[in-house]
């Protein structure tokens, strides 16, 4: 073991900094695609129509039990093999595509749960009052329910993002070069020196990202909670 070099942690930060973008893109893609599936899952569970609901429950059950790393490999090997059956070759697609696919499948149920809980947190009487006021169901949803549900969703959504970010570090296992992937390459290039410094640098990056996510969502929640309890001072 060579002596610990605190200053090398700083070098690591500088070298890994550009790869934060990859991590963030992976999160964004997952939120968009997983969110789309999540909306369908939430809707199926709220509406309680038997077939969609059963599908949603089974989906949630199946995906909940699969560790991220296994899902990553299943998607990475499975999807190209499956598509090859139909004559479509995606073997040289960007690794990010597989990562986003795997995490979208996995996090859709978490996102769906966040959406569902947020929707149910808004008193259904407001929807009724809205349609009785002459709004359509859609107008009632996006003008009255959605803005309030979004505020309810923020804390859980922010937690979910932090989880996704941490799980996302596993993407290096199929060869994605994000913060974790590049960190590992760095350790390889240094032939094992500065290993501790590199991991510390990575931890600091993930810690900083978490801090920023929670800061942003805390602020958002504060700004968006119009008409919620703490606004009483205006009265």
């Amino acid at each position: 073991m060579h002596p610990f070099h605190p200053s090398y942690v700083f070098t690591v930060l500088v070298q890994l900094f550009p790869y934060i973008g990859v991590t963030l893109l992976m999160m964004l893609g997952t939120v968009i695609f997983g969110g789309a599936i999540g909306i369908l899952l939430a809707k199926a569970k709220i509406k309680r129509r038997i077939v969609p609901r059963a599908i949603a429950e089974v989906y949630t059950y199946l995906t909940r039990c699969v560790p991220s790393i296994i899902m990553l490999f299943i998607v990475y090997y499975g999807v190209p093999a499956l598509l090859l059956q139909f004559g479509i070759n995606i073997n040289n697609f960007n690794k990010g595509v597989f990562v986003i696919t795997a995490f979208s499948i996995l996090f859709a149920s978490n996102l769906g749960e966040v959406f569902r809980a947020a929707y149910l947190a808004v008193d259904p009487g407001q929807r009724e009052a809205a349609v009785c006021s002459g709004l359509s169901e859609f107008q009632a949803f996006y003008r009255i329910i959605l803005p309030q549900a979004a505020v309810h969703a923020l804390p859980n959504f922010s937690n979910m993002l932090v989880n996704l970010m941490k799980e996302g570090a596993l993407a290096y296992s199929i060869g994605l070069i994000d913060v974790m992937g590049e960190g590992n390459l760095l350790i390889g290039r240094n032939q094992g020196s500065y290993t501790l410094e590199t991991y510390l640098g990575m931890a600091i990056i993930y810690w900083a990202l978490t801090y920023v996510i929670e800061l942003i969502f805390g602020k958002l929640e504060k700004n968006l909670s119009k008409g919620k309890k703490h606004a009483t001072s205006v009265a």
């Binding site: 808004v122 008193d123 009487g125 407001q126 009724e128 009052a129 809205a130 349609v131 009785c132 006021s133 002459g134 709004l135 359509s136 107008q139 003008r143 009255i144 803005p147 309030q148 119009k226 008409g227 919620k228 309890k229 606004a231 009483t232 205006v234 009265a235």
Partner: protein, 251 residues
């Protein structure tokens, strides 16, 4: 006749809550529905506004004629735009100010230009005595004030009929008066209303017709005088005796 429903039936699972209920309302009427808790009063109002889907029954409202169980989305919208609902627990939009609660049905529901809607909404809020609360959010208002916003929201759209479902029963006793006072004023102006309430004084003074419901049927209906001094049905008498301590004397 302005408004009528016939043969309204509704069951929740095997609980038959409404059993062929009829109700007729003329323009300018204040129809008060009385009845013990669980008799189906709320469900009847909710079926009329399609918040609950009736199993059967017909609705005639101005030029609208529809089946309650098979109404098209368009008909439902039409009925809702010609009527207003005042809820027991107010159901104000929590993310909107008092003023926005009132303008919403105008600007979004009825495409009234914004300036005009604000004008109308302010007048409605002034009328219910809330000229100093335009910009307050529901959480900043007392129950009585919230219900008054609920009433302003209803009258602002100039509906042909307003449905009130126990508008004062969630209020602290000292706040009931301010809401009833406004409802009396509306009745005085000839606004057509169906009011579910336990406020017997209001029913006696204001109603043009009193309907007594029990067990999902209309047991008896008549003028306040007929119902309160000379009820024909035993069930009506029992109910009034329970709810009016001095009922016996008024016979």
């Amino acid at each position: 006749m302005l408004f009528s429903v016939k043969n309204v039936s509704k069951a929740f699972k095997d609980n038959q809550v409404l059993k062929k209920v009829d109700l007729e309302v003329n323009k300018g009427d204040v129809v008060v529905i009385l009845g013990p808790s669980g008799s189906g009063k709320t469900t009847l109002l909710r079926c009329i506004d399609f918040l609950e889907k009736a199993d059967g029954g017909e609705l005639d409202f101005d030029d609208i004629h529809t089946d309650l169980s098979h109404a098209s989305a368009k008909t439902i919208e039409k009925v809702r735009k010609k009527s207003a609902f005042v809820f027991q627990n107010y159901n104000l939009f929590a993310n909107k100010t008092a003023l926005q609660n009132v303008t919403e049905g105008l600007t979004i529901g009825r495409k009234v230009p914004k300036d005009e809607a604000i004008e109308i909404a302010k007048k409605a809020l002034d009328k219910v005595g809330l000229s100093d609360k335009y910009d307050s959010y529901p959480v900043q208002l007392s129950g009585g004030q919230q219900q008054r916003v609920g009433i302003a929201r209803a009258i602002a759209v100039n509906p042909d009929i307003i449905l009130f479902d126990e508008p004062t029963s969630a209020l602290d006793p000292e706040l009931v008066g301010e809401v009833l006072k406004i409802m009396r004023e509306l009745a005085g102006e000839g606004i057509t209303m169906i009011v579910v309430t336990h406020e017997m004084k209001f029913a006696q003074d204001v109603a043009t017709k009193v309907v007594f419901m029990d067990g999902g049927v209309v047991v008896e209906e008549g003028t306040p005088k007929e119902i309160f001094t000379n009820p024909k049905e035993e069930r009506t008498r029992e109910f009034l005796m329970r709810i009016l301590p001095d009922f016996n004397y008024s016979i």
